[in-house]
Amino acid sequence: MNSVIKYFSDIAHGVKTLWKGMMVTGYYISHARKEIITQQYPENRDTLQMFNRFRGEVIMPHNEDNEHRCTGCQACEIACPNGTIEIIWDRKPDPETGKKKKSIHTFVYHLQMCTMCALCIPACPTDAIIMGQDFEHAVTDRSKLTKILNKPGSKLMKGVEE
């Protein structure tokens, strides 16, 4: 007799636990409007706000006079674990003093090798590079991922080296 009772109580227990689970999903479908968590990504692009600290890519800010803060000291190049940053520099005579001085020619940034570890940012003594928040890096050609960060014709900001 006990086994018969157990047989039926097993069934009742099983049905009860199944019903409990169905109540959870049932709640969510009946409150779908409130509970939906997904976003419609390309549509909400205009309102999409990334966090300030989000690491999307390395960028080099320029001011309105097309000046940057990079002295070409290569500290970031050394700090980078993956060889992402490559600085091509040359020595040009300073127009004021006439002395030859190191300055950057091109600041090459290989996005395809970057792991966004941000070790280069604190390494920079002049705060020339920061992390940008752009995350849409999809391109059709791998060569487009190699970026030159200093804008054409840009020069070093005054007062950075003091």
Partner: protein
């Protein structure tokens, strides 16, 4: 009367079942990455399991031999990506211990909180995937919903959602975001309401219990002998929580229980993780309101050089006992660096505990062991 020979009445070979091989993976929905299991199967019964790994072996240990200690930290993100912060901290602690740097209490508390958040995020993902492996696809989305709140906290404070690289030898990269405490408290409140739902949906479910109870039983002796740690080991009664054994950060100052179960089956491993989530929540609650003030990093040399010798640092990741073994010859890079990954040891007990079970059981056992392939291959 004619004596009937039993063997002759049945045409032997015609009815004999034949064993055959099945390649489960490297691309298979339930191997979670590129793990290949060569199964010897008789009907539905698994007779033998031979794991083949190395599909995403990236030679991180070799790469570490040329990197500076600061650079090594970001490589550990890519091993067990679900407990990336804990891996980061392991390397940082190893270096700090070697240099005899004592970080401030603020750093310790922040590291503890983020460690526990990482553990929660990992367990949430595991819970979702566990349900999905057993056929309840909805759990995956529910797990991700709650995990998303944690990744948002990480993104705001650390700058990345998964591979955040928030630590450096000597402290943190930068201070926590002003919203950190508020958001974390919001999350704790939210998750305390949602965690019972996990139980209603899956833990209590009769089908789920039938699928996991008594499946893949691991004895305590096996767990120790095979080095199975983390929730999987503790479900067998192996006291292997590094947070209790060798406390680091502020784990000796907070109150929490080491989850210990004795059954050792898949359901016990499942329960151990669910209970661990409650413990993690309580640790976060104890710490979040009293983060002490203090510097966020200690001064280190521009080029970190460890003294000659050997340093071993153990931490408890979401998967178990993670170790960093540094052999230094006094240069800027380690002479040899070995990562003791918990997944590596956990994987190889599979053959022992899953033999004789069905294919469906193998999937359940595999997901309760919570394997992360990059962690195993390194």
């Amino acid at each position: 009367m004619e004596v009937v020979d039993k063997d002759k009445t049945i045409p032997g070979d015609a009815l004999k079942s034949q064993e055959y091989f099945v390649n489960m993976g490297p691309q298979h929905p339930s191997t979670h990455g590129v793990l290949r299991l060569v199964l010897t199967i008789d009907g539905e019964i698994v007779k033998r399991i031979e794991p083949h790994i190395g599909y995403i072996h990236r030679s991180i240990e070799k790469m570490c031999e040329k990197d500076s200690y600061r650079q090594i930290v970001h490589l550990t993100d890519r091993m067990d990506y679900l407990s990336c912060h804990i891996n980061n901290v392991a390397v940082c602690l190893a270096v700090e211990n070697a240099l005899e740097i004592e970080v401030s209490d603020r750093v310790k508390v922040i590291r503890t909180i983020i460690d526990e958040l990482t553990r929660l995020a990992s367990h949430q993902l595991w819970w979702g995937v566990m349900g999905m492996d057993l056929g309840a696809i909805t759990t995956f989305l529910y797990g991700f919903r709650d995990r998303e709140m944690i990744t948002d906290i990480f993104e705001e404070t650390c700058g990345a959602r998964l591979t955040m690289n928030y630590n450096k030898p000597g402290g943190l990269m930068f201070d926590i975001h002003p919203n950190f405490q508020k958001r974390t408290k919001e999350f704790v409140e939210h998750f305390k309401k949602k965690l019972p739902e996990y139980d209603q949906l899956l833990t209590g479910n009769v089908i789920f219990q039938e699928r996991t109870k008594g499946i893949g039983v691991m004895s305590k002796e096996d767990a120790i002998a095979f080095g199975v740690t983390g929730p999987a080991g503790r479900a067998s009664g192996f006291e292997c929580d590094i947070r209790k054994k060798n406390p680091y950060h502020v784990y000796d100052k907070v109150e929490f229980n080491e989850v210990l179960l004795t059954e050792g089956d898949s359901f016990a491993r499942y329960k151990a993780r669910i209970q661990e989530m409650w413990e993690s929540l309580s640790i976060i609650e104890q710490l979040i309101d009293n983060i002490p003030e203090g510097p966020i990093e200690e001064k280190t040399n521009a080029v970190i050089k460890l003294p000659k010798g050997e340093f071993y640092q153990r931490v408890e990741t979401a998967r178990g006992d993670f170790g960093v073994y540094v052999i230094s010859d006094g240069k800027k890079s380690p002479y040899r660096l070995k990562f003791r990954s918990p997944g590596f040891s956990n994987l190889f007990i599979l053959d022992k505990i899953a033999r004789g079970s069905k294919i469906a059981d193998l999937v359940a056992i595999m997901s309760t062991l919570d394997l992360v392939m990059p962690d195993i291959d390194r």
